[in-house]
Point group: C2
DNA sequence: TTCTCTACTGTGAACGCTCACAGAAGCGCC
DNA sequence: GGCGCTTCTGTGAGCGTTCACAGTAGAGAA
């Protein structure tokens, strides 16, 4: 009989204990643990029973030491963190990645690199092989960390197309341009002709692509382009409010606004309200993200839903594939127009 | 000269390489790595130089294998995750813990235990010693995971006082009762006498304590208690809205409401607005949390600020102390009344 | 029979580190 | 000189696993 798998909390059982218990050798237990190839059914059975009886759990440190793999992956955020942690999409992403990895029994290490110091420390940590791969969230271009990791050959999947890097880095992104096109087309279909836009930061792929989609549709529809209808924000609520004020000043006849994020759209609504413009009667407002902010604001925002659940799942899938030796890949996922009260 | 600490990305340098490079033994390098006791200044110097030259980074797996420590800690969330991930406080907490741990060079493993299956797997993972300690976020009582971990002797710090468990588990919490007292006293000081409350779930410490604070102050002020003024919610926006409707029905003469969370308070504002009550003229509304929702809503919410930055820092401090062998501890941190437009 | 092939099993050696121990060197004190 | 003490250093062992290799046994083919 085995002793104490519940009571005496001394040393945890090792592969050796399991082997003795099952009447086989370490090697056989190890083989069972790693897929069970070249193991007789009877041995298989005996080992599994022994594992259950002893409460054995593999020591990942010992395993990692010899395999060189760490069997864990990092979730790296290289941004001023306040902004991201306030972004509901970020949370969906983080949760989705954690869950998707958990399904593969891979723990996720959360790493924040806000300051230059942290950046250095974390890069060292990663390149030292403490994680097998990295899920990177860093919208801005020219991120030195991404470049370093890529050069060091660390498997890497970015969320959103990294602007600065070459094509040899994997990424998963929603189809920003197409989403923007859908929204602007929707605004035009309502009969609006003075359609403005509040862009995101133009050193982010999202900012650039959404603006491009906006311009494309207007030009295809033969609507006159007017630079006074284009103002920039930084995805924050406050910047949306400021942008809307600028927009009203530059183009008082604006009758619709495509805002590149829901958070900014909230700010836009506030500014419009203060200016006495009714939404959607006077000005139709379209957001982007379908964040909780979209339903929280009044009127509820028509917006573009990004498939964050699929994005996180795809990021994990691509990263695991890359760790498994496959080549980098880019995945673009479709967006969806969600119509609510603001248009 | 050393070869390839940047170019040839073969095997990372080991403690052996550093020792050879520095002209000392493995033991001396190890001692330098672990605090530098019993090491001569000259050796110290030589080793540090060699580390810099070779780009050596300690292999934590090898270290963990022998020390038995994993030098990582888990952040465990045992809740239906949607709710928590949408809670801005949760994000501040997660970020704070990650940063506080990073300062100690300890990586944080994010673990979500939503389903029964995940719960089992994660409990196994933790009790197998893959993390040195756990930061637990689980507001509801009777959490089996917490109990199991406690029994297994895993160092544990909860966020908020765990109701079900004995006193032998550490926790860090804001002073809910005192915060509630401050808010209700504030409402009374405005001359309100029909002060209602929307409570949180009453199987959470926050829910219970905040209600207790509310009752204490009313009774101390000699204001007549009235059960029609007390309704319950579940911290969600929607539940706040429903609660406010019930409240208006049961006690139409209500002139102030203490709501146990900002999110619920948003719902309360919506319901009051719909019912044609002005805030704060007809009904003063006080929230709890000082979340972004507090400034996002209009009118901006008077609320109670919980010191989440300090809470996370204290959780980490207490956990590291407990891992270091100290006894469990409870830390209660003061809250702060933030006055805005809703009162 | 003998040889080969397949399916399975056991046995050292690592992996990179820390720990315990044994020593060496220096110093002061009897 | 002998002894003890402190400070410093090197060495072997071993943490729990996987991997490469060397077997063993049984089946089928020559």
């Amino acid at each position: 009989m085995t002793m104490s798998n519940t009571g005496g909390r001394r040393k945890p059982p090792t592969i050796h204990d399991v082997a003795r218990e099952a009447g086989v050798s370490r090697g056989t237990v190890s083989r069972v643990l790693n897929g069970g190839h070249y193991v007789s059914p009877s041995a298989q059975e005996a080992v599994n029973a022994a594992i259950r009886r002893t409460g054995y759990v593999v020591n990942r440190h010992a395993r990692s030491l010899i395999t060189g793999r760490s069997d864990s992956i990092g979730f790296l955020l290289t941004e001023p963190q306040e902004r991201f942690f306030e972004d509901p999409n970020f949370n969906v992403l983080l949760r989705g990645c954690t869950q998707a990895l958990a399904a593969h029994d891979v723990p996720l290490l959360l790493m924040l690199a806000g300051t230059e110091d942290e950046r250095r420390r974390i890069t060292r940590y990663i390149t030292a092989g403490h994680v097998d791969g990295v899920l990177l969230v860093s919208s801005h271009s020219g991120d030195p960390v991404a470049e370093e990791l890529r050069e060091a050959g660390v498997p890497l999947v970015a969320c959103g197309k990294p602007i600065g890097l070459g094509s040899r880095v994997s990424y998963v992104a929603a189809d920003d341009r197409d989403g923007a096109r859908d929204m602007v087309a929707h605004l035009l279909s309502l009969g609006r002709r003075r359609v403005g836009t509040v862009t995101g930061p133009l050193d982010t792929p999202g900012g650039v692509e959404r603006l491009a989609g906006y311009r494309e549709v207007l030009s295809e529809a033969g609507v006159e382009a007017d630079d006074r209808l284009v103002v920039s924000g930084d995805y924050s609520r406050a910047s949306g409010e400021a942008a809307a004020e600028r927009l009203l000043e530059q183009a008082p006849d604006v009758d619709a606004v495509f805002v590149a994020s829901d958070l900014m759209a909230q700010g836009v609504l506030t500014a419009l309200h203060r200016a006495g413009r009714r939404v959607p009667e006077d000005v139709a407002v379209g957001g982007f993200d379908d964040s909780p902010a979209a339903t929280a604001s009044s009127p509820a925002l028509t917006t573009i839903r990004q498939p964050w659940d699929r994005i996180s799942a795809e990021m994990v899938r691509v990263l695991l594939a890359e760790i498994g030796g496959e080549d980098p890949a880019a995945v673009i996922l479709p967006t969806e127009l969600v119509r609510r009260e603001s248009t």
